[in-house]
Amino acid sequence: MADPAAGAVVGVDVGGTFTDLVALDPASGRVRLAKVPSTPDNQAFGVMNALAAAGCDLAALDLIVHGTTTTTNAVLERKLARTGLITTAGFRDILELGRRTRPQPYGMTGTFRPLIPRNLRLEVSERMDASGAVVTPLDEDAVHAAAKRLLAAGCESLVIHFLHAYANPAHELRAAEILRPIWPNDHITLGHALLSESREFERGVTAAVNAAVQPLLDRYIRRLAEELERGGHRGELLIMNGNGGMVSAARVAREAAKTVMSGPASGVMAAAFTGRRSGLENLITYDMGGTSTDVALIRGAEPSVSSEIEIEYAMPIHVPMVDVRTIGAGGGSIARVSPAGLLEVGPDSAGADPGPICYGRGGTAPTISDANLILGRLDPAGFAAGAAQVSADHVRKVFEQVLGAPLGLDATQAAAAVIRVANLKMAGAIRMVSISLGADPRDFALFAFGGAGPLHAAALARELGIPRVLVPARPGITNAIGCVVADLRHDFVQTLNTPLDRLDPALLTEVFAAQSAEGARLIGKERVGLRALRHIHSLDMQFVGQTHLLRVPLPGPEIGRDAIQALFEEVYFRRFRVTLPDIRAHVVNASSSVIGLRDALDFSALIDPAGRKATLAEAQIGMRPVHFAGTWHDSPVYWRDHLPLEARLSGPAVVRQMDTTVLIEPDDRARGDAQGNLIIEIGAAT
């Protein structure tokens, strides 16, 4: 086997609109990029198109890492494989009853469609209690009969989900053993397999998601692998998981639920990688697109990971995923004046179609993007692609009529107000995300990407007290870069549920050792160049009587009770400024992550060094008035690819590039670093 790191590596991310690709030849450092339309019906075509557009020789590629939205879309659109459930007698409705909630605090309405309909949820006699002791033995004949019924009803995939299987999986394992010979494929998901934790609704939904997308992901990956092979590819194909790690294509479908959110996760991985290379290891990532904005936290170059993501109302997927929170604000968010005479922005969006007025696709409602256009922040020429050309005057007129008249403002003032309110909302949401994760935003740098992120980042940073903004070299293909730099990663959780003073440290060490060994075994199977294996151990803890968990990172797998107590108290105090010396600590879960660290890659050529100019003046492509804080400023416009490598800029300035616009406000200063990033230092508050 050739050293896989020696050949070219490709990262390809399929998003809702575009399929992005980055190809890196580690030997020469040469980088190739492509952005082509996604092909939703079969994403493989988009991937092949992107490879062709970048001029990749498939035979020369050692490794392709792929981020896909196949599973996310399938769940959100309920385009799922027909799936059946076999469960404990008396509990088939768990998946439909949920946790007794409604979608919003006010408004007594809401709808919910379970992943598996009631007639395909069958019960068999069996029961474990909470300690894992058998209360009722498994009725094996009933298991057999239920599977026959589900097959007759056309089910392709199966979930076996029994109460308390996290405590004792014997009945689930036995049922699977009975059914493997008669079920026509491998698509059997056991409830405890992905998530061995109590809480039957969350575990059941996680298993149901896995089962319902598994056949789809399996087919898609097979098709893609065939296409690649036909094109001459002989190297490895890996798929991004939502935890920011990757797994081999051959194994990914088995735990298909883990690929949900793989796109956003890879963007965060790229941010962690880029930040580490630039010496900024504490980042808030800020990915603003057309309809929504994704935010995540990176501490010490490690993205925050959560096992409690809910991808929509009552749809929890409890496998470890990079904790990406979505805010309902994007370039297409619509502005209006409320009956109380107050300006509101969002949450509804003009989306991509018809989109903002300035897209010229028939949009008529004023949006954030339109406001950016009026204020000179976006270049009117940049929207020439629209079906019908829309003039800036027309956009101004709409702002005047719809917003300006009721508020007593002219078009410019109305646009400035829209941006101010939108930034305030996003800043508030980012603040809530960071404090809910126990972080003060002022201790972070803002990593801005996505089509609209770099346009708003400096203003948000100022609002939040964040001292600097990092705009990567290629904000529009960050997810694809994340695929290339991601590590191999496996996460494990074991419920212990014991007071700390009764925890057996030897047993804990054993649990961690077993998790480490299994992770190392799985990683050992991949043909990818690694520089090291990392093992991270942590405990989920609380004070006896609490329900929320606090994650306590441990220095190593061997640790005593006193040391754990001290660490827990420290983490708790940092989060809540409260000490509770009289209350006992409780250990709920022991978790390990095993990470295969990839060989370091050099991305300094993401912007072609040959294209860079020697001076700032040569990189300038124009000058235009841009509106900041109540006045128009004549601002130079630069072309990003032409900027000298370590350029220094003073705001106000606009930096344009293929896929985004970077705004540098008055009083801010920006510099290019050796990695091709722009670092904006935020000046005094305006």
Binding site: F91, L97, R99, N119, R420, V421, L424, H548
Partner: protein, 581 residues
Amino acid sequence: MSLDPITLTVIQAGLQQVCDEMDLTFSRAAFSPVIAEANDRSDGIYAADDGALIAQGAGGLPVFVGTMQESTRILIGMIADGRAAPPQPGDIYIVNDPYLGGTHLMDVRFARPFYRGGRIFCWLSNTGHWPDTGGAVPGGFSASATAVEQEGLRLPPVRLFKEGVLDEEIFAIIRSNIRVADQRIGDVKAQAAALLVGEERLGALMDRYGDATVAEAIAELRRRAAMQMRAFIATIPDGRYPASAWIDSDGVVDAPLEIRLAVTREGEDLRFDFSGSSPPCAGPMNSVRATTLSAVYLAMRHIFPEVAMSAGAFEPLHVTGIEGTFLDAQYPRPVSGCAAEVSQRIAEAVFVALVAALPERVTAAPAGTSGNFALGGTDPARGRDFVMYQISGGGYGGNAGHDGLSNGCSTIGISKAPPVEIMEQAFPVLYHHYALHEGSGGAGCQRGGFGLDYEVELRRGSARASFVMDHGRFGPQGVLGGGDGGVNRVTVWQSGVPHRPAHLSKEQDIPLAPGDRVRVQTPGGGGYGDPFRRDPEAVREDVALERYTAEQARDLFGVALTGSPPQVDVAATRTLRAARS
């Protein structure tokens, strides 16, 4: 007005952010699962002179939407006339007296004066539901209490924190009077920490925009919230909209209690007249004034969720005629059912009254009970006592757009139910089923959602079961021709013999031995519109999914089905539906 609308929006968002951060801090640091998981708490900012609501956290429990400004208003009055000690910076008052702007005793309010330039600029306050405040039964929900003293410890406003320091003596009194006292210090610290966060964040906001500007914005936001509510009220056709809703019984005297309501539009204001409602009752199904007002406000907010949460939004809403009724109970009437049950029935009356005026916005009646089942006993395997609560949801009402949601949380709550697996880990019980309450959705063109049906067995030791629920006698009301939702049903098996509470939904201290079981079937939501106009295909699907039987399809919806899986018999359906009209 000198303030521009943008600064106004900016300050509004800033105030909201302060409250949301207080909510988050409180929930995350709290011990009581009622607060930490069920978010049975709320945080807000209140005016210095009259306690009027300035802003309140978006994730607060709806029932507190109107109570906290009442509570703060009364506290301010008591300080003014010397009934409460004067405040110093850093003080935090504690109060849980229901008659002083509260709900039930378990809802404990903290209030902290916020100083600016040596004067109180506003109050920061929060409410948290403590798992116990003493009284006859663990948890405080006694179905048969006849005086508030039996319900728990009642605290007038006293300064639990003095200049930032916890008064250990007052806390010692509280500790000696409540159950599971050792964890309460955690909740007290969490509740105080939330107010401290609020103080820091509000201070930063005011430093940035200036005290005068913030004060002006607060006044203007209040005017605008009133304007916004009036704009919505203007969409209600002129008229008088009457409705009644009933409580099964008060737990002591087995007779229904009536909420009689007439909503009248008077210009751009709405009058909610409760004259003729039942007099105060002997048992705990009384409401106090603050809770009654809050129930009306939260019902209107369910109907118009767009209106900003500020005292201004309540100004056009006038509640009258409650004096002398069970909706304005006075000391020492027992009140433990006011927030959990009576408030939901008041909201039901508002919905049923206004659905004719606002058919696109208002739903049929939701389940409307908190379904409170408490099991207290001894677990010999662990050698200690336990108290288990199962609070359950039910179906929501059908509405113009959709069928009602199944197993939603209460009208006045936003909480999640605990998983069966967690309950079985913590308590000596085994659930036999946890399922959809089949047939419980009220028939309608859009049917009601379905309730919950669970059965739980005591495995060891001994225990006593208590129930404070409602809608056992009358189902949640259907509207515009829709049928009522299925009623709440409680069955207790003692040594295999079934027992049903005399009051149907309420009884206290039923002894259970190992093997004894409790089954609870919670209400479905009311139906919306004529069930004979429901799409026969939707009826067929409900039968195919075993939510209704074929007989129910025929009798309730006029749809004839044949075969298995069922198919619509079009001709027979036409005949059935024609025969009725």
